[in-house]
């Protein structure tokens, strides 16, 4: 590839510690931003028959770099808001640089992951943080247009890229 990377040298942040929650067994738990955050950066625990437990982290990978979105500070707990009454989730993410053309791919990854791992009755809005992207409006429009998302996912190349981000083991 002769074009080179869009952001060749991103700033990598340390992973933050997750706040431990005390669970009350007797009442219903509402969906909260932390839930979504956990899902997006879920620590997958697979157990292996006979051999024992194997833990591995399965965060969403950046399309360009072998870092997770969390490490690149693209997403944070504060950038997720949930309104359970209306059944809406708003996720604002911050691309690493202003003219990042990968912003749509990142948004698409988030959408696919949430579609897979979340109660279907929530409406998910995914937006770029205000002022963080040169082409903010069009990216937002593209990400929240059902038809265009569906079309994007039908494109095998794009689908493959998204799948790689979601299921890669490179981290």
């Amino acid at each position: 590839m002769t074009l080179g990377l869009i952001n060749a040298n991103p700033v990598v942040h340390a992973k933050k510690e997750r706040i431990a929650r005390t669970d009350d067994l007797h009442c219903d738990d509402n969906v909260d931003p932390l839930d979504i955050y956990d899902i997006l950066f879920a620590i997958v625990v697979a157990f292996d028959l006979g051999v024992g437990w194997i833990h591995f982290v399965r965060d969403i990978r950046d399309p360009e770099h072998p870092y997770s979105l969390e490490q690149l500070s693209v997403l944070s707990e504060e950038s997720i808001t949930v309104d359970e009454k209306l059944g809406r989730i708003l996720i604002t993410f911050t691309p690493t640089i202003q003219h990042c053309s990968m912003a749509t791919v990142i948004g698409l990854c988030l959408r696919v992951k949430l579609k897979d791992c979340f109660p279907p009755h929530f409406k998910v809005d995914i937006k770029v943080a205000p002022g963080s992207h040169a082409d903010e409006e069009s990216v937002n429009k593209q990400l929240n247009d059902k038809e265009r998302v569906a079309a994007a996912l039908e494109n095998p190349n794009l689908r493959q890229l998204v799948d790689e981000c979601l299921y890669s083991n490179d981290l």
Partner: protein, 1474 residues
């Protein structure tokens, strides 16, 4: 005489280098055993081996010598004569010398090469060729280099941080590890040690292999040196030197010869690791055993040792090295000995190792640990005072290093060496030592950098610990000059003078807090060190401290109390307060220490004693006052609810981080940390010094309070001999503490502290046994506490009361006896209060007291009893034992007194009974009222009245419910206490209780069939039923029977029950009334009766008892009950229908009770492995199976038989549940605590018996009811059987288990059984042995799990089901792939679950299952994408086919010609190239 050929065989086998090490070791053993058994003499062996020992072949000769040496090692305990030994010594020493001379030869030769114009790094070369094969090569080369002119190799690269590199020859490429500390490489002795030169001709254009040949030739031409024999010579010498006195030893002159030859001629550092180790062992052994002989070598010895150990880097060798130095220094203790001149050099060698820095990763298996190394180095340093002039400055220098480990090490070494070097030598270092130590304490101990706080904590705390230890040692050793330095120190005095400015703890800036704390610790350690130091510290600071606190000298306790109050009422000076408590604690520790050494101590005239004495009462008052005032003003954060506490901790942590504050002294008081706290309180000052825990004080205002309680405790626990604290003060303290206990119970934190202080005082008194103080304690504390039990004051919460009583009671046996005595009184008073006056209030505390009694007191007695029998109890207890009539008496007395009470009471006609019956009546009214309202009361518009009636009825009902619940709670607590009490009695005591109880039971009013029991041997079911009506049990009767059952349950197998027949009859009667404890008692009886009837003392054998039970109808009633009923219906008329229905319900109820009873009896039999249990199982199966119940199941059309059907179902259900009783563990009876006979593996046996029966019944039965009940029984059995048994049968059981699960998921009430069943399934899934069965049944398992994922009634079931699904995703893909869509669908529903845990689990599960798709997809995609891989695969496949065909060809299956295959191969190949 052993067969010489045999011997030669063994020798050959050892010498042959191709045999395995194990074989070689075996041949050594064989030869050694020949010699040991005298079948072969040593001489003949040597003669036999002559050829091997003298041959010109180097390798064989070396092996021969080694064999001889190894054999000698094995003969350590075989007597040998002196001639043999001396000839052997001569032989081996000669080898050592040969080695040396050959080595010298090598030196010269190779030196030429080494000095050549260009060289190459020997380290690299060495590792390339594998030095182990030619260990001596490196030696040679090292020598070569040295001749070449670059210094002795062993001087190079010592681990002192300098670069270990060294040029190899004039223009050689230097190679050496830069030795920072000790980085051991695979070839430790190569790195940084040897730089070798080889001729340029060798370097150029030659392969590694050629190097090898060249080198080998080179060595050969060096004159056939005997290097290889070195190992054998060393082993041989070592074996000889190590010989014990009785078996013939080396003489002194021979030992000297060995030492001389090895020291003079061996260049140890040039050898391989193992050889060096042998050398050091030899040296060490010589120094230890033949010290006189080797001492004569004088300078040569010391010089040789220096040379040998210099530059050593292998940890195992180093330990030996350090030990050698230690022994050597012990040999020459004089200052004018040969060691003096070498001391500096020796110290230089050793000093470079300090501090030990060990970079080995933990995983590697090394022979030496860091601690061992460090310790042996410390011993070496301390071995001679000659090292002092260099060692102490070195330690002090390292003490100021920034590395925490270096600090700790230096402090440890200083502590040890200070004592060893002696006060005289240390005197000149005192000033430097104090300033370094002060810096260490002031800075590193308390200043923590916020970022690295967590990782540093431990080391920092260790520094403080070590620093204070050192301080103490120095003070103890020094004659006082050190203490003068401390007392006159500017920093300390500044802090002490500024105490006045520290009024309140909150106002003190953090830095001053650190200072204050450090000074407090320093002073306390100084005071603790000795009497003299204590005096000086007190003289210097105590008066000013007292002034600061506003306390005046006051000897009589009357005096000027008012002035003092005035002084104290001003704001407390915290700084002074803190330091004084620290000092108090220090002198108390000192006093206690002396007290242990000399019981009658005469230290009362010491200055500090006098001072303390004069201030003690005022101090007490000060503490009291602080407590009182503080108690009101402090805020108790400990009261905030648990969620807020977590928030509070977080807040504190963040605050700490912000302020970069020091280790915060304080306490974090949450229930979960209580244990830590206990530890903390117990040894507060120790902790203050150590700072091992990171406690958080919730509120700073608690701090003075804490110290006030602590101060009181210290004052109260001064040993009596010192008479420091007058009695009045002691009593004041106790009064203050007890008043907190009785009044301050709303302040949890303070209350606990006070209780802890009292317990400590109690324990202290129990230890020192001061009669005066004990008397006061007894009167003030114990009596007060005990009176809490019986008081009618309900303001203090009863759990706290019980806690106080229990803690104080456990401090001493005397107090425990007293509390138990009071306990018995209280229980009887409360019981009578409850029953005579209907006083429910005392029930709560009674229940708690009973629980305390059964779970705390009795186990405590058990421990004391055990100690008593082991004779490790203080002698004073023996008199107590006698006075109490044995400790066993306590539970016995309790049981007997309870029975006495029951005997004397006339509860049956008391008020309470009336009350209960009234309540029962109103309850019935209440139940009837609703229907009446709706039927006719509405019509008469009398609704108002009705509602009032209803409301009052409801109130009464509610109250009644409370009463009954309360009574039941009390009864169960009483039963538990009775069981535990009886259980802890011995057999004799138990029979007394049984006799007493039985006599009371027999005389009871409810027991009318005494006569019938005596007259007829067996009572049928009908009769039993007639003699006792179901509801005729009065409250008292229930108590009597329940308590009697408890007694029987807890009996030991040896205890004899008189009149056992009556007992059995009685229990069988009550059992049919649904009284479960009776059933348990029967189970215990059959479990514990001796199996043989020959024992004359038993009037009834097991056989008779079981026969009695099984023939009496309990058993038959289960299965035959319906028959009697059906006969009733046959001849019943229209009028008798209602009667019949009632009768039938009653009979069914009776049957259910019988089933439950039989289950307990069966459990007793099962646990002892009795055959009869099969009958029981068959009975239950009969209840379950259609054969037994078809007749009873009425046709659907008849509405009157609906209830009958319900009843039959109930019966079947109880029969199914009986299996649970049979197999599950019970807390209430038949366990180890109640002395049950338990046969090992009884559960597995039961499983093996029952499982086939149930399985075949399930196959046979077609009625859905029956099937579901059978499944239920099966589920019970599977749940309680150990998993390993289940897994081994997994193939058969999984389908059945899945059916069970689906059946159980129908009823909400079965959710617990369902959950347990699911756990069994998950156990099989995760077990490696169950995997095959799981794979076979994967489809149905997944189907069932998918159903359970949406189980609405229990979160745990949903969660576990999803977890199981995750586990299933690990199965072979081909097996589970078809199920993925179903699973994903089910999981997508679970994603919206109400509970977060389930949602999270669902996400994981989804991930696992969608990975399945992704993996298969990606495999396909990558397959397509990587075409070259594809081609490779085809190529490989072709090769495999080719191989297969070639095999087939050989076997005669000539299907395809070879050429064709080759063609295919050729066709494929170009595409791969593409």
């Amino acid at each position: 005489m052993a067969d010489s050929t045999q011997c030669v065989e063994h020798i050959e086998s050892f010498v042959d280098s191709s045999t395995s090490p194990a074989q070689q070791a075996a041949s050594v053993d064989a030869i050694a055993s020949f010699v040991k058994n005298d079948t072969l003499t040593l001489e003949s062996l040597v003669r036999e081996m002559e050829m091997y020992l003298t041959t010109t072949d180097n390798i064989i000769r070396a092996r021969g010598i080694l064999l001889l040496a190894e054999v000698l090692t094995c003969l350590a305990s075989k007597p040998l004569d002196n001639v043999t030994i001396s000839s052997l010594v001569g032989f081996f020493t000669e080898r050592l010398l040969w080695v040396a001379s050959d080595g010298g030869h090598g030196d010269g030769e190779i030196g030429g090469y080494g000095g050549g114009p260009s060289g190459i790094g020997g380290g690299t070369l060495g590792s390339r060729f594998g030095w182990r094969r030619w260990p001596w090569v490196s030696g040679l080369m090292a020598m070569g280099v040295s001749i070449g002119g670059c210094g002795w190799p062993w001087m190079v690269g010592r681990g002192d941080g300098e670069s270990g590199g060294c040029g190899g020859g004039q223009s050689g490429s230097g190679c050496g590890m830069s030795g920072t500390g000790f980085s051991w490489t695979q070839w430790p002795w190569v790195s940084g040690l040897v730089v070798v030169g080889v001729p340029i001709g060798l370097v150029e254009l030659k392969t590694e292999l050629q190097y090898g040949h060249e080198l080998a030739e080179l060595c050969e031409c060096l004159g056939g040196a005997d290097w290889k024999a070195l190992r054998g010579a060393l082993v041989g010498c070592l074996a000889l030197v190590r010989r014990k006195g009785n078996y013939g030893t080396v003489t002194d002159s021979e030992a000297r010869a060995i030492a001389e030859s090895s020291l003079q001629t061996l260049s140890v550092q040039a050898l391989g690791q193992h050889d060096r180790k042998l050398c050091f062992e030899l040296l060490g052994c010589l120094l230890e055993r033949y010290s006189d002989a080797v001492m004569a070598l004088d300078d040569l010895l010391v010089y040789g040792v220096c040379e040998a150990i210099d530059g050593e880097k292998d940890p195992e060798c180093l330990i030996l090295t350090f030990h050698i130095v230690e022994v050597l220094a012990g040999l020459f203790p004089d200052t004018d000995g040969p060691l003096t001149s070498f001391a500096e050099g020796l110290f230089e060698i050793l000093g470079s190792y300090f501090p030990i820095h060990f970079t080995h990763s933990k995983g590697e298996d090394v022979g030496a640990r860091r601690e061992e190394l460090s310790k042996s180095l410390m011993l070496a340093f301390a071995s001679t005072p000659l090292f002092e002039q260099w060692a102490i400055p070195l330690f002090l220098e390292k003490l100021s290093s920034s590395l925490p480990t270096a600090k700790v090490e230096s402090l440890k070494y200083l502590s040890y060496c200070t004592v060893k070097y002696g006060a005289e030598r240390m005197a000149k270092h005192v000033g430097a030592l104090w300033s370094c130590l002060k810096d260490a304490i002031f800075t590193s101990a308390f200043a923590l950098d916020a970022e690295s706080r967590n990782s540093m904590e431990f080391q920092v705390n260790e520094i403080a610990t070590e620093a204070f230890l050192l301080l103490r040692k120095v003070i103890l050793q020094d004659d006082g000059s050190f203490l003068s330095l401390i007392l006159g120190d500017d920093d300390i005095n500044t802090v002490m003078n500024s105490l006045a400015s520290f009024k309140d703890y909150d106002d003190i800036p953090i830095q001053s807090k650190e200072r204050l704390h450090a000074v407090g610790c320093i002073l306390s350690v100084s005071a603790k060190a000795s009497r003299a130091s204590c005096n000086r510290v007190f003289e210097r600071f105590f008066p000013s401290l007292m002034d600061a606190l506003g306390v005046s000298v006051q000897i009589s306790s009357g005096g000027s109390r008012r002035d003092e109050d005035h002084a104290i009422s001003s704001k407390l000076n915290f700084g002074a307060f803190y330091v004084s408590v620290n000092l108090l604690a220090a002198c108390r520790e000192l006093a206690v220490g002396f007290d242990e050494v000399s019981p009658i101590a005469t230290f009362a005239n010491e200055t500090w004693c006098l001072m303390l004495h004069s201030f003690s009462s005022s101090l007490t008052r000060l503490f009291n006052r602080t407590l009182v005032t503080r108690m009101h003003e402090s805020t108790w954060v400990a009261y905030v609810p648990s969620a807020d506490r977590v928030a509070a901790v977080q807040l504190w942590k963040s605050k700490l981080r912000l302020e970069g504050s020091p280790v915060v002294l304080g306490i974090w008081f949450v229930e979960s940390y209580e244990l830590e706290l206990e530890k903390f309180l117990g040894q507060l000052l120790f902790v203050l010094i150590n700072l091992r825990y990171n406690f958080f004080f919730l509120s700073w205002t608690d701090f003075p309070l804490f110290f006030a309680v602590k101060g009181l405790q210290i004052l109260a626990t001064f040993p009596g001999n010192f008479l420091v604290v007058p009695k009045s003060v002691f009593e004041d303290v106790l009064m203050q503490l007890i008043s907190i206990i009785t009044l301050g119970f709303d302040k949890t934190f303070l209350w606990k502290m006070a209780l802890k202080a009292l317990v400590d005082i109690g324990l202290f008194l129990d230890k020192c046994r001061d009669s005066e103080m004990m008397k006061s304690f007894n009167i003030i504390v114990v009596e007060r506490i005990v009176s809490l039990m019986s008081s009618d004051d309900f303001t203090m919460p009863s759990p706290l009361k019980v806690e106080a009583i229990s803690n104080i009671g456990q401090t001493s046996l005397t107090y425990m006896l007293r509390t138990v005595e009071e306990f018995e009184k209280t229980i009887s008073a409360n019981l009578s209060g409850l029953y005579v006056h209907g006083n429910l209030k005392s029930a709560e505390i009674t229940v708690q007291l009973l629980e305390w009694y059964s779970y705390k007191v009795l186990p405590w007695y058990g421990v004391i009893l055990r100690r008593f029998f082991l004779l490790i109890v203080p002698s004073c207890y023996f008199s107590l034992y006698q006075s109490a009539g044995g400790f066993e008496e306590v539970p016995l007395r309790f049981s007997v007194s309870v029975w006495d009470q029951i005997e004397n009471s006339t509860y049956s006609s008391n008020k309470f009974q009336e009350k209960v019956s009234v309540l029962r009546f109103s309850c019935v009214v209440f139940l009837l009222t609703p229907s009446s309202i709706f039927c006719w009361n509405l019509e008469t518009s009398d609704v108002h009245l009705c509602i009032i009636e209803l409301a009052s009825a409801f109130l009464v009902y509610w109250e009644n419910d409370c009463v009954i619940k309360c009574l039941q709670k009390l009864l169960s607590a009483m039963m538990m206490a009775m069981k535990h009490a009886v259980g802890s009695c011995l057999a004799d005591g138990q029979s007394i209780i049984v006799d007493k109880a039985l006599s009371i039971v027999l005389s009871s009013t409810f027991f009318p069939m005494k006569d019938s029991i005596y007259s007829t041997p067996l009572v049928g079911l009908k009769e039993l039923q007639l003699t006792l009506d179901l509801d005729s049990f009065s409250s008292r009767d229930e108590w009597v029977v329940s308590l009697f059952a408890s007694v029987i349950i807890a009996l030991r197998p040896q205890t004899r029950i008189s009149n056992i027949k009556v007992v059995v009859q009685l229990f069988m009667t009550t059992l049919l009334n649904g009284h479960v404890p009776s059933a348990q008692a029967l189970g215990s009886i059959v479990n514990k009766l001796p199996s043989d009837g020959t024992d004359a003392s038993k009037d009834f054998s097991l056989e008779e008892v079981t026969n009695l039970i099984f023939s009496s109808g309990v058993c038959s009633s289960c299965s035959n009950g319906h028959l009697t009923i059906s006969s009733h219906t046959n001849d019943g008329t229209e009028t008798s229908v209602t009667h019949l229905r009632g009768d039938c319900i009653k009979t069914r109820a009776l049957q259910i009770h019988a089933v439950v009873g039989l289950a307990w009896i069966g459990k007793g039999l099962l646990m002892r492995g009795h055959e009869k249990v099969k009958d029981v199982i068959m009975t239950f199966l009969n209840c379950l199976l259609p054969g037994g119940n078809d007749g009873a199941l009425p046709s659907k059309q008849d509405p009157s038989k609906d209830t009958e059907e319900q009843e039959v179902l109930r019966l079947m259900k109880s029969a199914a549940d009986a299996f649970q009783i049979l197999i599950s563990d019970s807390e209430a009876c038949l366990n180890r605590r109640f002395h049950a006979t338990i046969r090992p593996l009884y559960k597995q046996r039961f499983f093996n018996i029952v499982m086939p029966m149930l399985l075949s019944s399930i196959v046979k039965s077609d009625a859905s009811n029956t099937r579901s009940m059978l499944y239920r029984a099966l589920a019970h059995v599977m749940i309680d059987t150990p998993l390993s048994a289940i897994v081994s049968e997994a193939k058969k059981l999984i389908p059945v288990l899945l059916d069970c699960l689906s059946m159980l998921s129908e009823d909400v009430l079965d959710k617990d059984i369902l959950y347990n069943g699911l756990l069994v399934l998950s156990g099989i899934l995760t077990d490696i042995n169950g995997q095959e069965a799981v794979v076979d049944n994967a489809h149905i398992i997944i189907k069932r799990l998918i159903e359970l994922v949406s189980y609405p009634h229990m979160m745990l079931i949903r969660e576990t089901a999803i977890e199981c699904l995750v586990a299933m995703s690990e199965l072979p893909h081909a097996r589970i792939y078809p199920m993925r869509t179903q699973v994903l669908l089910a999981i997508s529903k679970a994603l919206g679950d109400r509970k977060r845990v389930v949602r999270q689990e669902a996400v994981r599960c989804r991930q696992a299952w969608s990975d399945l798709i992704y993996l298969s997809c990606s495999f396909f995609l990558s397959f397509v994408r990587n075409f070259s891989l594809y081609v490779d695969l085809v190529f490989i496949l072709t090769r495999i086919i080719f191989f297969w065909l070639s095999v087939a060809n050989k076997q005669g299956f000539n299907c395809i010609k070879k050429s064709e295959i080759l063609k295919t191969e050729r066709r494929v190949l170009p595409s791969s190239a593409r």
